[in-house]
Amino acid sequence: MKLKEGVKKEVNSLRSLELKLTTAFPAKVVSLCIMLNIIRNYYLQAILAIVLAFAVKAGANAQSPTDSIKQLNEVTITSKLPVRTIATSQTLSGADLQALSTTSVADALKYFSGVQIKDYGGLGGLKTINVRSLGAQHVGVYVDGIRLTNAQNGTVDLGKFSLSSMESVSLYNANKLDYCQSASEYASGATVYLQTKRPTNDSLSVQLRNASFYTWMAKVNGQFNWKGWQGFVDGEYCSSRGDYPFRYHSEYEDTVGRRANSDIRYGRVEAALFRGGFSSHIYYYDSERGCPGGIVRRLSDKYTNVGREWDRDFFVQASYQEQFLKWFRFKANAKYTNEYLRYNTKYPENQNTARVDNHYRQQDAYGALCAAFMPWSWLSLSTSYDARYSIMKADLKRFEDVKRVDQKLVFAAQASWKGIQAAASALHQRYSDWTFVQAGAAEPIDRWTPAVSLAYTFYGITVRWWYKEIFRVPTLNDLYYTQVGNRSLKPEDTKQLNLGLEYHWNKKAWAIDAQADIYRNKIDNRIVCLPLKGTYTWSMMNYGKTFCRGLNATLKGHYNAKQWHASLLSSITWQKDVDRTDPTDEDMYNKAICYSPTFSTGLTAIAGWRALQFTTSYLYVGERMWSKADPEDILEPYHNIDMKLSYTHNIKKTSIGLCMEVCDVLDIQYEHIPRYPMPGRNYKLTLSFGI
């Protein structure tokens, strides 16, 4: 048991740290040379072609005077060829987004259909999302089209991203299907796009918040719009004791207590600069938090989890896109990420786990080139090449630096003709690792995967069908982590099939959007941590197949009159996710997979009158199993109601706002992970001041 536990602990530390580190690397010339040496010939050709095209274009550009008409943004382009309804997507933007009672991006996403949130509870608890039961590592999160990465564990902690600097949050199942997309945007099972706000005026605002459990937050936002340049600086500091009360009440237990070691303090500074087709973003996040454990039977509070975690995440990214003539579009992305994580359990009070003080560092350099050709107005052909170089360092025993080069190449075509839309893409991914870890590096992965979409629009109704195959590569933890890693892992494969309907209706003050999709997913070679046959130790293994069927539907209604506005947003998810690993295993085969509710629904109502706004959100998540061993092992269904009332008063150019929020109004005790309770009813009071 010991070793298993030791390793379980490691795994848990990974789990609780899941999402905390990303690798990267200093973008030096040396590395560029290495990259160039290792990329395959045709890749080189692809780049050269694109670079050449760009050079030619730039030459042409130099001859013509620059003018602002060329500064097209994505929306203008997409409106020209209406491909929007071909992709299954959900978006929360602008006023609706700000009206929700949210503290992080994770809070907004839980209202989307088909999304399951995993949350370890509290402000500092790890928050990840899982779309259509594919698993958190299949969800790609993109800030302005550039992926947030974490080579170490492949997931992104959505708790680290604030909504205050976001214009919209969108979820795309399969691909977004823009005309000029980078290859990595095709490379995940589901994609979450965070679109940064482009300021339209100059302003400065300050927010102060006091919330339950000794939570204090201060936020400053300054933005400008000057001669075609737009930008903002957003800073936030927050500190919370997080010692929320919880209660477990059942036939055989009545446990009450307060969450211990659940405090967090973090600071976040980010800034962005835009001009036409150019956008850039710089982000820094620094935090310290306690890592509370599961609530288990104890005779007293004498021994609690004392592990602490420090994160420092930094990234800087830039993107430039331009349209030349009517038929050529070009985009280039670049990004550098540097992440640091420290996990410490070296405390005298720690009696239960190994006493470690581990530091993990990841650096990641990324570049992408995309080109789209539109020979006719109904056809767009695009290609993109992405390269990413990641390096992970950790002071673990028997661990050496791991370097990964990940290259992606995509060829995509989109056509739109008389209500018929079609899109197809072929993505090639190649992953190569280098390490001196004793077991050696994994074999490179080299694979093509396809995606096809079709849609037909008549009388405002769009019928769409799409199919996508994609895989997720084993993360560096999966492959190399001391005592757990398994370098022989194969990628986890997914196949998604979707059939959907979408309808939009607009009339004067009214707007209605409705969509419904039925889907079927298959996942093969799932990457899981298993105890090894008779060795009493745990290791990452490829094990299991799942089969999911489901229905996602959303209905949105908006009403906008002079002084009144109202919105109603609703979503429904019904799904049946079953295990298809071993037909001879009666206990498991065709049984529901864990953490997947059959039914969940969300309803948000927003009503506003002048500067007064009231929002009520209701969320229901049905029963889900957390183990298949016993029918009793279920997480109870829960209802969650949040309310928010805000008022803004304007005196000339200055504004003063007051906002009151009550979360979990009914004080329902619930959990996403067994024995990790979520906070019950809590309050937030926010005061804002702007000029």
Binding site: M1, K9, L299, Q351, T482, T535, Y536, D585, D587
Partner: protein, 430 residues
């Protein structure tokens, strides 16, 4: 007709024999999910998979890791992640619980005291809190359920056994891979149980003495999973008597014995896997060891790659073998399959000859067993002579351990002989 009658007789025999089988099985559950559970098996079927909860109205806790019979009225369970040593009666009702020994691992007892190994670094005793750099052994007095003495041993001590008033503790150093400030331990610590002082550390030269440790009189079967990289796993047979006499006392065999148990004739049955993180491959092994021959011949004889009857085929069919046990009262053999990591495990029952009698669904990670004596056994009041199980001439101590060598009985100690308690009044023969 005659044949039918024979079959009927045989079935009745099996049924009756099964009816006397009473097994308590610990399901570890998942870590930090507070879902450790106790299964109770009697008469050929599982009575309950949450036996402790049924009897007490609350849960046992997180990761129950070891269970022993302390005396005829008391059973001790080490609930590792809950930091609790839980005492129950043989009917499953709770008697007492202590959290004075955090990160407790394995247990043994002499009937008056319970000895617990711990990976922790502090212990609450009647004299106050005691701190340790390495791991320790705590001695719980059963009259008060308090810790009356402790003794520091190696890092992360695991298996513990009592022989001739000494505790033999297998040290693992299992946190070495994570902590980095120490290496895997290679020693067996010998501690005087009466004074709780360390008498000596016997260096086996084998790292990480981790896993199920079983005892057959003076012999121990100890496993080493190696370091998972260069040092391959192995097992060793350890002779406590020779160790106390200062003679060479252990012989190594090159197969892992991840799970082992003692049979009624004093042999060890062991199964295990050798896994290497370097190659990602594992090889399965299964052993029957006659310890006295093995020690006497220096390992050249006494070990065979065999298991009784069809056991091997049944075990090879398991997804994850997770434990093996022989009922000391009847010789029936038990094994567990942890199955896939989110599903329920299974309890396998074999006849003493190794014929599979049935499989029973239990709970997650079932791994630790305790057989209760048959109902009419050792009560001291009733004696049912109709018992179908022949236990003639078998002598047990109050912890349910079968005494193989009758000459080792100690004067003034109570033993159970032929189902009745007797006071031993002869001196052990040297």
């Amino acid at each position: 007709m005659k044949r039918l009658f024979t079959i009927l007789c045989f079935t009745l025999y099996i049924y009756n024999a099964c009816a006397q089988e009473r097994i308590i099985l610990l399901n570890e559950g998942m870590w930090q999910a507070d879902n450790g559970k106790i299964s109770y098996f009697e008469g050929g079927s599982i009575i309950s998979n949450q036996w402790f909860r049924d009897k007490n109205g609350y849960k046992i806790g997180d990761t129950p890791n070891d269970i022993i019979q302390v005396n005829e009225n008391l059973i001790a369970i080490a609930v590792n992640w809950s930091n609790i040593v839980q005492f129950i009666r043989p009917d499953g009702t709770a008697v007492a619980a202590t959290e004075d020994i955090p990160n407790n691992r394995r247990l043994c007892s002499d009937g008056s005291y319970v000895y617990v190994t711990s990976y922790g670094h502090e212990c609450e005793t009647i004299y106050g809190t005691v701190y340790f750099d390495r791991g320790f052994v705590a001695k719980i007095d059963l009259s008060s359920f308090k810790v009356v003495a402790t003794c520091e041993v190696g890092y992360e001590p695991e298996g513990i056994a009592l022989y001739d008033g000494r505790l033999f503790i297998a040290n693992t150093g299992g946190y070495a891979e994570q902590e980095g400030d120490h290496e895997f331990e290679t020693t067996v610590s010998v501690v005087n149980a009466a004074t709780m002082t360390l008498e000596k550390n016997i260096d086996t030269g084998i790292p990480n003495l981790f896993g199920e440790m079983s005892q057959s009189g003076r012999y121990l079967c100890i496993n080493s999973p190696g370091d998972y990289y260069e040092v391959p796993p192995c097992g060793l047979i350890f002779d406590c008597k020779r160790a106390l006499q200062g003679e060479p006392c252990f012989v190594v065999f090159n197969y892992p014995a991840t799970y082992s148990t003692k049979t009624r004739d004093g042999h060890f049955l062991a199964i295990g896997s050798a896994f290497s993180y370097i190659t990602g491959e594992y090889t399965f092994s299964y052993l029957t060891i006659e310890p006295w021959t093995f020690i006497r011949t220096g390992g050249t004889s006494g070990l065979s790659m065999s298991l009784p009857g069809n056991m091997l085929a049944d075990i090879m069919n398991m997804a994850q073998p997770y434990g093996i046990y022989v009922n000391p009262y009847s010789g029936y053999i038990y094994g567990t399959d942890a199955g896939s990591f989110e599903g329920a495990g299974y309890l396998y029952q074999w006849s003493p000859e190794g014929q599979l009698l049935g499989t029973h669904k239990v709970y997650i990670n079932p791994g630790h067993f305790l057989a209760l004596p048959p109902y009419d056994w050792a009560s001291g009041i009733e004696t049912n002579h109709k018992s179908q199980i022949t236990i003639k001439n078998d002598v047990y101590d109050l912890q349910g351990r079968r005494i193989d060598n009758l000459h080792q009985r100690k004067k003034g100690t109570i033993y159970v002989e032929n189902g009745k308690k007797t006071l031993c009044n002869t001196q052990p023969r040297k």
